[in-house]
């Protein structure tokens, strides 16, 4: 997000904040979806984060760090919402009343990607957030720790545990365990 927009938003410029929303909501939503694994909760998390950003904009100390600060607000919102009722009381049926025979058989193959996805879905929100911060947002360890509002050492151990949990979940899925872990990012065993 351009710094000038952040500075204008800090001074109550609604148009600038609207522009920030336009620029950031898609990235935030995608990140939230990866963590909370529920589109409705993800939308709630994004809205919570952006509303918090607007209400607390004056408290920003370094406008150049706005993205990191927004990530932090988003991850907090994700954790808060993930701790609520796990599911919404709406079970969607796509399009029309679905007959089992019409379910898309072309996508029914349980692929390798699905296994990763299902293993990822078995992780806790905290573990997913650590993996998303590292592998999707590509934050440095320091940035990720700040975004997660935890000490650097805690983040490193959480990332390690998340990777181990991913390994265990994949093993439960019946596929080879993870190898070639990035040792530089793991604590010594």
């Amino acid at each position: 997000v351009p710094v000038d927009l952040v500075i204008r938003a800090m001074h109550g410029d609604r148009e600038a904040f609207s522009r920030i929303v336009q620029l950031s909501h898609a990235r935030l939503y995608r990140t939230a979806c990866l963590i909370v694994r529920d589109p409705d909760l993800a939308a709630d998390a994004v809205q919570d984060a952006l509303v918090s950003a607007w209400l607390d904009a004056k408290a920003i100390r370094d406008p150049s760090r706005f993205d990191a600060w927004l990530n932090r607000l988003l991850l907090r919102a994700c954790f808060r919402l993930a701790g609520r009722s796990r599911r919404r009381a709406t079970l969607e049926v796509p399009g029309v009343i679905v007959d089992i025979a019409t379910l898309d058989r072309g996508l029914a193959h349980v692929t390798e990607r699905d296994e990763i996805g299902r293993a990822f879905g078995h992780l806790t929100a905290e573990h997913r957030a650590a993996l998303v911060a590292h592998h999707y947002l590509e934050l440095t360890d320091g940035e990720a720790a700040a975004a997660l509002a935890i000490p650097l050492g805690t983040y490193k151990s959480r990332l390690h545990r998340a990777t181990e949990a991913m390994r265990a979940a994949l093993e439960a899925e019946g596929r080879p365990a993870p190898v070639d872990l990035d040792g530089a990012r793991e604590p010594a065993r």
């Binding site: 609604r14 709630d44 919570d48 049926v93 679905v98 349980v110 993996l131 080879p176």
Partner: protein, 446 residues
């Protein structure tokens, strides 16, 4: 996958792919705008209060007063609407014939359709697959509770095991806007609400039929697979003592439409040849898991999707309704299979032809049939809530009024220990989301 999994490569690629495939809600910026709009500029106040979006922050005394007024207005409207609905229902509710009571049961925590239900050893009822949740009801309680989660969001097969745990096999999960079938299976423990993953089945199966056998083993047949014919032709057997599936050394001749346990540890499996080709012919087999054999028998006259097979206390099996294969219309035929003669006989007809209904055997040897689809009207499938009691030896059924709401598409009916029947979930006409309501049928009520 022959190579190992590298989180720095595979997970990063997966996360990027998932993110790229995520559809962004177009109204998200507007929602945020609405939430941060200055209080004086807020529009559609009641809509904002009622909005599912949580972040409309109001901290001023003025806003609190407005909220209180809005709450009062909403409460008044709801109370009035409730009174009208209750009053109209009392007036319009069809007269119940003697011998059946129908009352509303407690609402499910989450809507369910194409789920599965089982009565547990402690007489509680558990529903599986309602958006990946397990929901449990104590018949003496007034509300359902969630008690763990499972892999499939719908369409699992379930069977109660001798140790009280529940086998949950197959089902479907959402991948973006589509469904994919699961090969996975798990054991759900009602004592803890936790699940234990099991080794995979050979086939991915959506809505498989699980037949519990006296030995404690469970036969797994049918269920939609990912490719090829509509339903699996592979027969698998789950052994709870070894916690694993074995594949029986034969394949079924076509689509499985229904199956039921027979005396002596065998199972009746009924189906039609491939639904995607013509001509379609009915077939029937008796599967003996102990001998790992399948014996063809003379098939019933009518077999089709949406037909139910219900085992009676005396060992016979009643086939009811379904989609008639020659002309594709809902069938009213009642057919009874006698395991002694190994023959089917048409014994009667329903008052209302139907498919995708529920059928529950009662202790007196009858079958209570409810809900489903009746024949199309003006090109549109028509749901029904009508209830009939099928006596396997009588040519006609006894109509017993109708449910408060039509139910079809995977509603479940569970016989409780005291003879009541709990119906839950499903969908009804025009509604494309699952139902969260339940009904209790009380056959003994005057």
């Amino acid at each position: 996958m022959t190579r190992g999994f590298d989180p720095g490569r595979d997970l990063a690629e997966w996360l990027a792919g998932e993110a790229a495939a995520t559809a962004i809600p177009t109204d998200l910026p507007e929602r945020v705008e609405q939430a941060v709009r200055p209080r004086g500029q807020r529009v559609a106040f009641l809509a904002a209060v009622a909005s599912p979006w949580p972040s409309t922050r109001m901290s001023s005394a003025r806003s609190r007063r407005s909220l209180a007024w809005a709450g009062l207005i909403i409460a008044t409207v709801l109370a009035t609407a409730t009174a009208i609905l209750v009053g109209s229902r009392l007036l319009l509710e069809p007269t119940r014939p003697p011998g059946l009571g129908i009352i509303n049961g407690p609402d499910l925590v989450a809507p369910c359709y194409r789920h599965a239900a089982v009565r547990l050893a402690d007489d509680r009822v558990a529903m599986f697959g309602c958006d990946a949740q397990v929901q449990v009801l104590d018949p003496d309680a007034t509300s359902w509770t969630t008690d763990g989660t499972i892999d499939p969001i719908c369409c699992p097969g379930v069977a109660l095991l001798p140790d009280g745990r529940v086998l949950v096999a197959g089902g479907a999960f959402r991948r973006h806007q589509n469904f994919a079938m699961l090969q996975t299976a798990e054991l759900w423990d009602p004592a803890t609400g936790s699940t234990i993953p099991l080794p995979r089945m050979q086939e991915a199966r959506g809505a498989p039929i699980l037949v519990g056998l006296p030995s404690g083993r469970v036969l797994v047949v049918g269920g939609q697979i990912s490719e090829g014919p509509l339903s699996s032709r592979v027969v698998e057997l789950f052994d709870p003592s070894a916690n694993r599936f074995t594949t029986l050394p034969f394949e079924l001749p076509g689509e499985v439409t229904s199956a039921a346990a027979l005396p002596g540890g065998t199972a009746l499996v009924v189906g039609v040849t491939d639904l995607t080709t013509k001509p379609r012919s009915p077939w029937a087999l008796i599967v003996d898991p102990g001998a790992a054999t399948a014996s063809p028998i003379e098939p019933p006259a009518e077999v089709g999707p949406g037909q139910t097979a219900t085992a009676l206390p005396d060992g016979r099996v009643v086939l009811i309704g379904g989609l008639s294969m020659p002309d594709g219309t809902e069938s009213a035929t009642v057919q009874v299979f006698d395991p002694v003669t190994r023959r089917f006989a048409v014994t009667g007809r329903l008052a209302n032809p139907r498919r995708d209904h529920v059928a529950t055997a009662t202790a007196d040897g009858n079958v209570v049939v409810a809900g489903g689809y009746t024949p199309y009207r003006n090109g549109v499938p028509v749901t029904t809530g009508t209830i009939e009691v099928v006596s396997p030896d009588a040519p006609a059924t006894t109509s017993l009024g109708a449910l408060p709401v039509d139910r079809t598409e995977g509603a479940t009916a569970t016989l409780l220990r005291d003879g009541r029947i709990l119906l839950g979930g499903g969908v009804h006409g025009g509604i494309v989301t699952g139902l969260s309501s339940t009904d209790l049928l009380i056959p003994s009520s005057p």
